[in-house]
C-alpha cells in the first residue's frame, strides 16, 4: 500500500538530514538489509526499518523500540547496540523507533512480533538481537576500511567510533567512514562466538548516565499529558461508579449549555465531555448527572465479604480447580507425614497509582480517515492498532508518537484510555486531550486481584517437606497464578492449582503480577514450617535450595550482606525471603520493628541480593530493584482497594496510602557476578518484600501476618492472637 506523503516518514525525519549510513534490521531474523533512501518506494516496505544511523559528522542515532516508563530502556537498549558496534557513547543520540512491530518488536508469546514493554522483558528480550546487530554494523565499517586501505580486515581493530590499523598507525573515525562507505545489500553474518566477551565490555556494565534524566530535572521531558497541539480540546469522562456499568441517561441539555462545552459523547461505559478548556471540562463534569443501568455484575460486590467466602472454595467442588502443577503422590505423602501444616493467606486488591494519571491526545482528521496520537503506553503497537480499529482505518494511517510514561507498572499495558480518547476526538474530528482525574484513575482502575491462598504441607520425620499443596482462589485467571510455581523448591509431591471466580471488577497486571502475593504466601508458609521445626529461616531455605547453585548463591549473598547471624537492636528483628521472576533470582532480608500500641510496622533496613545475569546498566539496575522493593513494601504495608455494593471505597492518595519517604527503609542492593544472559529486573524487587517482613514480624512477635496489606488493625489483631 502506498502511504500519503505526510504519514510516510513522520518518525524518521532524522533520516532526511545529511549524508551518512543507515543500518536497518530486517524483520524476524537478525540480518540487516539496506533501506531505500527516504522517499523511495523501497523504504515503504514494512519489513524494513532503521535502527542505527551514522552521520558524517560522527553523530550516531540509535532507535529505542521500547517504552520509557522510568525503567531506563531509552539508555539500556541503545547501550547494547553501541557496545557491539564500538560506538563512542558520547556521540549517540536516542530516539523512539517508529511503531512497526514487524520490525522493532520482540516475540513475547507465540510467534507474533509485538512492541510490548512488560514482564521485565525489555533488556532480556532484545539483548541477543541488538548485540548481533551492533556487531554486524561494526563488521561493515571494518570491511569498508579494509577495502579503502587495501589491508586485510583481520589487521583492523576498533576503538570508540574509530577504526584502527595498528601496523601503519592509521586511524579513521566512523563519521569519516560514513562519507564513503556503502551498506551492503546483504549484511555480513555474525554468530555469537564473534561477539565481545563480557570482559571486554566498555559500556555494558559500566556507569552510563541515563539520557532521559536531564530533561526530567528541568521540566522539559514530555509526557503525553503535557502535549498541546493547535485547536486542541479537552476531554473528561464520567465512568460508571460500578465497574463495567452502562449509562442510561444524563442531563445532556444542561451540560451542553454550559460555557465552553463543545460536545458530550455517550460511551458504552460512561459519558464524555469535550470542552474548550480544561477548567470548563472539570466544571461540566461536576454538573454532569448520569443515571446508570441496573444489573451490572459487580453492583452487589463486597470485597471483604467475598474474600471470606473464598475460604469455602478450595476442595469444596463449588469451583472446578485448574491444575497448574501435579507431581508425585500428595495424598500418600500426607497420609504418612510426621507433621502436617495448613494456612490460608489473603490479599486485597491493589491499585497501580502511577503518578501521571491516564491521559492521551488523539487527533482524528476531519475526514476521519487518519489520526495522530500522543500516548504514554507500554503497548505502543496495540494502542496504535486500537486507534485504527476504533476508526476503521488502516494501521499505517495512524501517526503514533510515543511519549514518556509517568509510571506504567502494568496499568499502561492496557489501552482503554487510548480508545476513549479516540472516540472523543472522532466525535468532534478535532484533537482532544483526554485527562483522567486521580479519582477516575483510582476508582476506574484495574487492580491486582484480591485472592485467597490455601497452602498445605506434609513433613516427614526427618523434617523434609514431602508434599506441597497450593490453591489460589480469585478472579483474574493468569493474574492469579504467576509465581505460584516453586521451581527452586523441589518438593517430591506437589499439587498446585487455581480456582477461578468472577466478580466483574476490572483487573490487570500490577508490577510483578501474581508473584507479589504468591511468593508472599509461599515464603511466609515456609517460614511457619521452619519455625515449627525449630529451624533458622535462612538455614532452612539453604537446605531447600541445596541443589540450585544460583538460588543458593543469592540466599547466601543476602545473608552476608545483612549480617544475618548478628544481633539486631532491641525491639527489632530480621526476616528473609526468596523469589524468582523474569529469569532473575533474588533474596531479601527485612529488619523491622513494631509499635505495639498503634500496630504500625516500621521497616528499618532492607537488603537484597539479585542474580540478574549480565547487568547492562548497574546503577539503573540498582534503582530498578530498589524501586521494586519500595513498591513491594508499600503494597505489603499500606495498599488496599476495597469495594462495598460495587463501589470503590478509596478515591485518592489520602485514603489509598503509598509509601512515603519517612517510611522507606535504607535499602541495599547487591548483584551477584554473572555472565548469564541478562534477566528481568523491573519486578524482582517486589516478590521478596512481603515474605521477608512477615518472617521478621514472626521472629519479633511470635505472631503471624497472613493478610496483605499488613495494616495496623491487622497487626494488632495478630498480636492479640
Amino acid at each position: 500500500m502506498r502511504l500519503p506523503a505526510e504519514l510516510r516518514f513522520s518518525r524518521r525525519s532524522v533520516l532526511k538530514v545529511g549524508a551518512g549510513l543507515t543500518f536497518a534490521i530486517a524483520a524476524g531474523a537478525c540480518g540487516v538489509r539496506v533501506p531505500g533512501e527516504p522517499g523511495s518506494d523501497q523504504a515503504t516496505e514494512s519489513a524494513i526499518g532503521a535502527w542505527v544511523r551514522v552521520s558524517t559528522d560522527g553523530s550516531i542515532v540509535i532507535y529505542n523500540p521500547a517504552a520509557e516508563m522510568g525503567q531506563g530502556s531509552m539508555t539500556a537498549l541503545p547501550v547494547i547496540v553501541a557496545e557491539e558496534m564500538d560506538a563512542d557513547w558520547s556521540r549517540v543520540r536516542v530516539e523512539f523507533s517508529p511503531i512497526e512491530p514487524e520490525v522493532y518488536g520482540w516475540i513475547p508469546w507465540g510467534n507474533t512480533n509485538s512492541m510490548l514493554t512488560v514482564a521485565s522483558h525489555t533488556v532480556r528480550g532484545y539483548f541477543p538481537k541488538l548485540r548481533i546487530a551492533g556487531a554486524q554494523i561494526r563488521k561493515v565499517l571494518l570491511d569498508s576500511v579494509a577495502d579503502l586501505w587495501n589491508v586485510p580486515v583481520g589487521e583492523l581493530t576498533t576503538e570508540p567510533s574509530t577504526v584502527v590499523h595498528s601496523a601503519s598507525g592509521r586511524r579513521i573515525s566512523y563519521g569519516e567512514i560514513a562519507e564513503f562507505a556503502k551498506v551492503p545489500a546483504q549484511m555480513p553474518s555474525v554468530d555469537e562466538s564473534q561477539l565481545k566477551s563480557p570482559a571486554r565490555f566498555r559500556i555494558i556494565g559500566h556507569a552510563v548516565p541515563r539520557n532521559d534524566i536531564p530533561a526530567k530535572v528541568d521540566g522539559s521531558a514530555e509526557f503525553a499529558i503535557d502535549v498541546q497541539v493547535p485547536g486542541m480540546l479537552y476531554g473528561m469522562i464520567t465512568r460508571s461508579p460500578v465497574h463495567n456499568g452502562q449509562p442510561l441517561s444524563y442531563n445532556e441539555s444542561e451540560v451542553r449549555a454550559m460555557d465552553g462545552i463543545v460536545a458530550t459523547v455517550g460511551l458504552e461505559h460512561g459519558i464524555g465531555i469535550i470542552a474548550e478548556s480544561v477548567e470548563a471540562a472539570f466544571k461540566a463534569r461536576t454538573a454532569l448527572s448520569v443515571e446508570w443501568a441496573k444489573g451490572t455484575q459487580a453492583e452487589d460486590f463486597d470485597s471483604d465479604v467475598s474474600l471470606v467466602e473464598y475460604a469455602g472454595i478450595p476442595g469444596s467442588g463449588q469451583v472446578e480447580a485448574k491444575p497448574i502443577v501435579q507431581k508425585g503422590n500428595v495424598s500418600a505423602a500426607f497420609s504418612v507425614a510426621a507433621r502436617r501444616y495448613e494456612s490460608d493467606f489473603l490479599a486485597d486488591h491493589v491499585y497501580h497509582a502511577q503518578m501521571e494519571p491516564l491521559n492521551a491526545v488523539v487527533s482524528v482528521s476531519a475526514a476521519g480517515d487518519s489520526a495522530e496520537a500522543w500516548v504514554g503506553t507500554q503497548a505502543t503497537a496495540r494502542a496504535k492498532s486500537a486507534i485504527a480499529q476504533t476508526l476503521g482505518i488502516d494501521f499505517n494511517r495512524v501517526d503514533f508518537h510515543p511519549c514518556y510514561l509517568g509510571g506504567g507498572f502494568g496499568r499502561r499495558a492496557n489501552i482503554d484510555y487510548v480508545v476513549e480518547a479516540t472516540h472523543l476526538s472522532n466525535a468532534v474530528r478535532r484533537p482532544v486531550k483526554l485527562i483522567w482525574s486521580r479519582e477516575d484513575d483510582l476508582q476506574y482502575g484495574q487492580y491486582r486481584p484480591m485472592n485467597l491462598q490455601r497452602l498445605r504441607a506434609a513433613v516427614d520425620s526427618n523434617g523434609n517437606i514431602t508434599a506441597w499443596e497450593h490453591c489460589v482462589v480469585g478472579d483474574g485467571g493468569g493474574l492469579l497464578t504467576s509465581g505460584i510455581k516453586i521451581p527452586f523448591y523441589d518438593f517430591p509431591s506437589q499439587n498446585i492449582e487455581s480456582c477461578s471466580v468472577s466478580n466483574g471488577i476490572r483487573l490487570r497486571h500490577w508490577r510483578s503480577v501474581g508473584h507479589g502475593f504468591n511468593k508472599f504466601a509461599v515464603e511466609a508458609f515456609i517460614d511457619e514450617i521452619a519455625s515449627d521445626l525449630g529451624a533458622d529461616p535462612y538455614q532452612f531455605r539453604r537446605t531447600l535450595l541445596l541443589n540450585s547453585p544460583r538460588a543458593l548463591n543469592v540466599l547466601d549473598a543476602v545473608a552476608i550482606l545483612a549480617d544475618w547471624e548478628s544481633k539486631t537492636p532491641e525491639g527489632h528483628a530480621k526476616g528473609i525471603a526468596f523469589a524468582e521472576q523474569g529469569g532473575s533470582l533474588a533474596a531479601g532480608v527485612a529488619e523491622i520493628s513494631v509499635d505495639e500500641l498503634s500496630g504500625k510496622i516500621r521497616v528499618h533496613r532492607f537488603w537484597c541480593a539479585v542474580d540478574g545475569g549480565i547487568i547492562v546498566q548497574p546503577d539503573n539496575s540498582e534503582a530498578q530493584v530498589e524501586g521494586g522493593v519500595v513498591m513491594g513494601l508499600s503494597s505489603a504495608l499500606f495498599e488496599r482497594i476495597s469495594l462495598t455494593n460495587g463501589l470503590v471505597q478509596q478515591s485518592n492518595f489520602h485514603d489509598y496510602r503509598i509509601m512515603r519517604m519517612s517510611e522507606t527503609p535504607e535499602i541495599t542492593v547487591a548483584f551477584v557476578k554473572s555472565e548469564e544472559q541478562p534477566s528481568g529486573l523491573g519486578e524482582i524487587g517486589v516478590p521478596i518484600t512481603a515474605g521477608a517482613v512477615a518472617s521478621a514480624f514472626a521472629a519479633l512477635t511470635g505472631s503471624r501476618l497472613r493478610h496483605l496489606p499488613f495494616t495496623a488493625d491487622r497487626v494488632r489483631a495478630s498480636m492479640l492472637g
Binding site: 516508563m69 541515563r210 532521559d212 477548567e279 503518578m355 492518595f653 503509598i658
Partner: protein, 153 residues
C-alpha cells in the same frame, strides 16, 4: 477581570475563572508543563511551585490567590538546569519515570533556601509530603545532601 501575576520573571495575566487551580493555568494556558498534575487535592506534591518563595501545591491554589504575586516553576528555577539541586539530581541519577521530580525539586529548593546544612531528618521531614511511586526516595535524600554540601564549598 484579568488576574495578573509574575511567573519566572515574566508578568502574565489570565482571564480564566478566579477559582481555576493555578496548575491548570500554568500547564494549559501558559504552556509551562514542567509542573505536573497528579492528585488534584494537594496530597502528593507533584504540582509544587514557589509562591513568593514558599513551596505551595498549585493544584489546590485558586489562581486568584496568586494575583500580583510571584510564582516560580521548575522552568524558572534556573535558566539552564544549573541549580545545585538539578545538578545533584543528575549526579545521583534520581528520576525514574520523572513525573514527580519537578515537584520534588521545587519542594527541596525551599529547604535549602532556609537551611543550608539540613540533616537527614530535616530532609525527610521537609520532603515527606511529596510522593514518588517509582521509589526514588533514597536518591532524593542523597541528591539534597549533595547539593547542600556543594553549596558549602
Amino acid at each position: 477581570m484579568p488576574i495578573a501575576f509574575r511567573v519566572n520573571g515574566e508578568l502574565v495575566s489570565t482571564d480564566v475563572a478566579p477559582e481555576t487551580p493555578l496548575v491548570w493555568v500554568l500547564r494549559e494556558h501558559l504552556k509551562l508543563s514542567g509542573t505536573k498534575i497528579s492528585c488534584g487535592t494537594g496530597v502528593c506534591g507533584a504540582c509544587t511551585v514557589h509562591l513568593d518563595g514558599d513551596a505551595v501545591r498549585s493544584c489546590v491554589l485558586p489562581v486568584a490567590a496568586v494575583a500580583d504575586k510571584t510564582v516560580t516553576t521548575i522552568e524558572g528555577l534556573s535558566a539552564d538546569g544549573s541549580h545545585p539541586l538539578q545538578v545533584a539530581w543528575v549526579a545521583e541519577q534520581v528520576p525514574q519515570c520523572g513525573y514527580c521530580q519537578s515537584g520534588q525539586i521545587m519542594q527541596a529548593a525551599t529547604l535549602l533556601s532556609s537551611n543550608d546544612a539540613p540533616t537527614r531528618d530535616d530532609i525527610v521531614q521537609h520532603m515527606d509530603g511529596n510522593l514518588c511511586r517509582c521509589g526514588t526516595y533514597s536518591r532524593i535524600i542523597r541528591a539534597i545532601e549533595r547539593a547542600s554540601k556543594e553549596g558549602e564549598q
